[in-house]
């Protein structure tokens, strides 16, 4: 019989831990810094729209009149440009991936008006 060259590796793999995980029962922990989805901290956002202008995928829509910041997570390519150009650093990249869905939808964040809060008090 010719030499079974991968024999050592094959035999050893009977006893070693498998390289794969039993997904979805076990999941690999997401490393920090994984590019999952974008979160906006509404208290810091000033609706300047710089993120919308610099997005290469046109995934962000900022409406100043309605005070909303919307992102289409299915258009987003998780490049991180918006996180870097935001002047108030209110955008962050969260490690969790957008869950799969049967229809595309936008996530809308309502940014409260700081001036309205001041006049109320």
């Amino acid at each position: 019989m010719g030499s079974f060259k991968l024999g050592g590796m094959t035999f050893g793999s009977l006893f070693k831990k498998p390289e794969t995980v039993l997904y979805p029962f076990e999941q690999k922990p997401a490393p920090a810094g994984l590019k999952g989805h974008i979160e906006n901290d509404a208290s810091a956002c000033i609706l300047c729209g710089i993120c919308a202008k610099s997005c290469p995928a046109d995934a962000i829509a900022v409406e100043k009149k309605e005070r909303t910041w919307a992102i289409d997570p299915f258009r987003c390519v998780q490049c991180g440009t918006c996180v870097r150009v935001c002047p108030k650093h209110c955008l962050t990249m969260d490690p969790a991936y957008t869950p799969i869905a049967t229809a595309k939808s936008c996530r809308v964040v309502h940014v409260p008006d700081p001036k309205a809060a001041v006049t109320e008090s």
């Binding site: 810094g33 994984l34 590019k35 290469p56 998780q78 440009t81």
Partner: protein, 362 residues
């Protein structure tokens, strides 16, 4: 006098990673002529410079090809930096090269798996891709993405690799090296592998030079051309770098050259990881390229030399961005290699040029 039959190969074929069509003119199981045809993955990406400015286009350049993603973003960034006269900090150059060499390792491991699968050695395919998963995990830990890294920008890089991550990279690569050497020796000394690859698809050195072939495809025919030997960027700080060549000029030589390049890349990463200087990882880039300014650049991608060209028009959008990928250069070499081979060897020869058709067509 036997009749010639034309056998269509592709665009869908189990052995092809990307669609490529060949019309093989065959006489009694010997291929006498080949007509290649591409165009199945043409997306017209170069026209998108008109709607995306030079900062946004890097994300499109990355997505030209999944395997060469890091290479394209690096080549594009270097070209635009040359166009605008931007100098990137030394640490950023080192980081870019480390990621690029990791990308070379992952690309060659991918290719080795496909080459083994092409002649039926499926367990080798699984082992190579198993080792490749460890490299992809490294990418995930350091850049946040497995395949599309999005870590290079015009002016530097976006993330840093700190000392603990660097130590982890080195230890994972050392772990890969042990198992990989075993796999490599199996592949290069096995009799059935040799029967399928030795003497198949031979290209002489003169033909390789006449057809301006690039990459491991040319280096296997003893043509020592490697863009990394120009010593630009962090490659200039390597103690010594010599392109790996082989003299046989057949499929076996190409497999050998790529196998050895993985080991060479591991050594390069370890050397650069030890020498990396402290400093900034990016420099702010303001303004736009001047009207009429042009710049060209070459980069050694896993498949060979890739040429980039950029021209500015005064606005934030580039006038023209062009990438000429190594596979488009090697297509002529492939047609020459296929002439006179057996029909059963066609898969092997096509795979050994490492075709990346989605890069060729953009």
């Amino acid at each position: 006098m036997s009749k010639a039959t034309v056998i269509p190969f592709g665009p869908q074929h189990p052995v092809l990673p990307e669609p490529l069509h060949l019309d093989l003119v065959v006489q009694d199981e010997t291929v006498v002529d080949v007509l290649p045809q591409i165009g199945f993955v043409h997306r017209g990406l170069e026209k998108l410079v008109e709607t995306r400015d030079y900062n946004q286009f890097i994300y499109i350049a990355e997505r030209i090809c999944g395997i060469c993603a890091m290479g394209h973003s690096l080549g594009y960034a270097e070209t635009v930096e040359s166009l605008m006269g931007v100098e990137v900090p030394k640490r950023a150059e080192y980081l870019r090269v480390i990621w690029h060499e990791l990308s070379r390792i992952h690309s060659h491991l991918l290719w080795l798996g496909l080459a083994a699968d092409a002649f039926g050695f499926e367990s080798m395919f699984m082992h190579c891709w198993r080792l490749r998963e460890r490299v992809l995990d490294l990418f995930e830990k350091t850049t946040g993405g497995r395949v599309i890294l999005s870590v290079v920008k015009v002016g530097g890089v976006v993330r840093d690799i700190d000392a603990s991550q660097m130590a982890e990279i080195v230890s994972v690569l050392d772990g890969i090296k042990g198992e990989y050497t075993q796999i490599m020796n199996t592949l290069l000394t096995d009799t059935s592998v040799k029967n399928r690859t030795v003497g198949v698809g031979h290209i002489t050195t003169e033909d390789a030079a006449a057809l301006s072939m690039v990459g491991p495809f040319a280096r296997a025919s003893n043509l020592p051309y490697d863009v990394r030997s120009f010593g630009r960027g962090a490659y200039g700080d390597l103690a010594d770098f010599a392109p790996i060549t082989a003299t046989e000029g057949d499929c076996y030589a190409r497999v050998k050259v790529r196998c050895l390049e993985v080991l060479q890349s591991i050594e390069i990463i370890k050397e650069l990881g030890a020498k990396i200087p402290a400093g900034d990882i990016e420099v702010a880039v303001k303004g736009a390229p001047a009207d009429g300014a042009q710049a060209s650049n070459v980069l050694e991608q896993p498949r060979g030399e890739c040429y980039y060209y950029a021209r500015g028009n005064g606005s934030k959008n580039l006038e023209r961005m062009r990438m000429r990928t190594p596979t488009s250069q090697n297509l002529a070499g492939m047609t020459v290699a296929l002439k006179g081979c057996d029909l059963a060897d066609v898969n092997m020869i096509i795979l050994t040029i490492d075709p990346c058709i989605s890069c060729t067509e953009r």
